[in-house]
Symmetry: D2
Subunit: 226 residues, 4 copies
């Protein structure tokens, strides 16, 4: 069965996480995972997906940052669920606040990804969006209030209610779906707060990618899981 | 409380339903509603919304065809929930297959419309989309497989399972939400089939708007409700 | 021939410019136009377009805020070029920064509007976008750097080069196309600066719509044309 | 200076052109280029871009299928101009009919790609769109009437006027910009017809990707250049 890692690092389009930097960051994730025994997920850019899978695919959960609602065939510039599978990745994020989807496309691609055996994590901005996303029965919903993304002000402390409420409403519509939270998560105490609110894990980006020492930052985050 | 009319006629952008034609069609709906005692809903184009409300606003349920996820203020070319209220309309369609929305925008505008007291009907292409739409707790979800829209092949006969399944999954996530079905509905037997499958009503367009005799067409549809 | 008014007021979705307020503001524009002999353009919300045309259609140039790339027929929630004509309006804005269009849709709708005899004004964010918009040969291109919209810092003073350069490049690709500028325009001196840079007029919104005395504000703007 | 290859093969999302198949097709292109001395361009999927560059980057022109209007940083699921450069690719398609862009985004990304030294080819559906695309001064505009894509009915024979007219209007606004044509191109005679109409080359996809013998298909296409 597909497990949702309790810490997922979204590389976004940061220069610090493209090409050689993507591989370096991927190895950091693999080291930390091995040292701590905690499953770590990473989301490299599309162009680095294959290389990252080759480098650390056996050690961490590798996710695409997005997949398009497109079947194989005459589609230009799209990343299909089949391409992600073929590249050897384990899953994908969908509907990130920087890549919102039409409800109908999200529904199609969510179903296609689940059918392809991909770990499917749908992002949502608040509890009501999380409820709708949860109704598609993905493996996880990641609640990220866009106004907190990249701020260093953690959702789990700044807006605990959105986390608690999201856990509650997602379970109402899809009991098996995990709930992650994200936005502003930077250290272990933010993670601990998230878990205490009922979240199954966290989705982070700049807190690790832009950290002076990404390994230390990731270890610190994971310390909050204990 | 807001009631969902069992028959709603979407005027779309048909020349037969713009301007004077919109008013004529609106009066037909009002006559039929009075003669049969059945509540009828109509969805005129944005530019005709006010005139139609003035003409028949006391006799039928007047709905906008769409509303944008926009608050009053510096937004150009948008129709806000507040404008629809101010125009005196009763509600709106959202996410029609010809006007799909981002999940996040749909969530925002659905919440805003409900808060404004507007009858809020969210369209969906299949049962899974209906479940996600239902999770937003609108007054109704209208299931319309796009491939049947405008064909004259009624969803309630061509794909009964999508109707049954939609009723089932919408109730799972929002018991109070009504379920309509649409696409290809043209006569009373199509409506009867829909109701027997558990639908609370139908959403029609070309079947009435393009009929030789729209009044007769509408009366025929309503005969299927008995 | 269609003339481009040297001052066009975009009502946007401001509560101050919807319903009765739209009519009041429209009458202000008509009065000012009559008193000064200067043609004024106004862009009411879709739902007020017909009423505004009825009220002042003979006295001012009434423009839709946007038109969709849609032909009459099975299109829901769209405003077609034909609807704008049928409502009696004179033209439309297209591609406003709050309602950006796909290049291909813009091309289709621009051509359709021109063919329908509508005064067609395409917005653009900078000189390069103005050049591409101009290549479609609309009646006017309105250059509005989005970062200055609604700020009260006039483009004609804060970024004179974008105005001059836009005039130059639009003429390169379409000699007949007028060039307006907008964003932050609030008084006559801003208009004068625009005209001195080669602009044929201005596109304003909050500077008039939100003014304590819209008539005075509009008169002041027009004083800059002399 | 960047040269526009006279034959460019878009791999799209065909299963026949992903992963190992992408590499195989890339080697075919390299062989044909070497044997004929004609520069060939290929557009692999995002996830295969790096591997294809490693395999044949010195022998053929490798282009991304699309680039997003995004700068490095907090952007999820996007392919930035910088990523394409970093992956070692030579350029990109933009605005393909299966991946249309907002005019404003196209303008931003077109400028960014040119600034990054990427060979920038903007697709357009007809002569008017080609004129607007040309106004952005990309290295090439590729005219592809969407209704002919994938049909095997070549634009250069079915609609010669759109090719001639596109060449004419693109040169009006940007003399240095090359004009390619595409849609339905399958053999050398289609290419010859295109060149006789003034086109600088062709953009093909299924005609090569889905051919029983892609090498033979590509050689046949190139024979039309003589």
């Amino acid at each position: 069965m597909l497990r949702v890692p309790p810490v997922i690092v979204n590389f976004k389009a940061y220069s610090e996480a493209v090409g050689e930097n993507a591989l370096r960051l991927a190895r950091v994730a693999a080291e930390v995972s091995e040292e701590t025994g905690v499953e770590v997920g990473i989301c490299p850019p599309h162009v680095d997906l294959r290389d990252v899978v080759r480098e650390v695919g056996d050690e961490v959960t590798v996710l695409a940052q997005a997949v398009d609602a497109a079947e194989p065939g005459g589609r230009t510039g799209h990343v299909t669920p089949e391409m992600v599978v073929e590249a050897g990745a384990d899953g994908t994020l969908l509907n990130h606040s920087e890549r919102r989807m039409l409800l109908e496309d999200l529904k199609d691609v969510c179903r296609a990804c689940i059918n392809e055996g991909l770990l499917t994590i749908v992002c949502a901005s608040d509890a009501l969006a999380a409820r709708a996303a949860g109704a598609l029965s993905p493996h996880a919903v990641a609640v990220e209030p866009p106004e907190l993304i990249g701020t260093g002000t953690p959702v789990s402390k700044a807006d605990p209610e959105v986390v608690e409420r999201s856990v509650e409403v997602v379970k109402e519509v899809s009991e098996e779906t995990a709930v992650l939270c994200g936005a502003g998560i930077t250290d272990g105490s933010d993670v601990r707060a998230a878990v205490e609110l009922g979240a199954d894990g966290v989705l982070v980006a700049s807190g690790v990618v832009l950290a002076d020492d990404p390994k230390e930052a990731l270890l610190d985050l994971i310390s909050g899981l204990e």
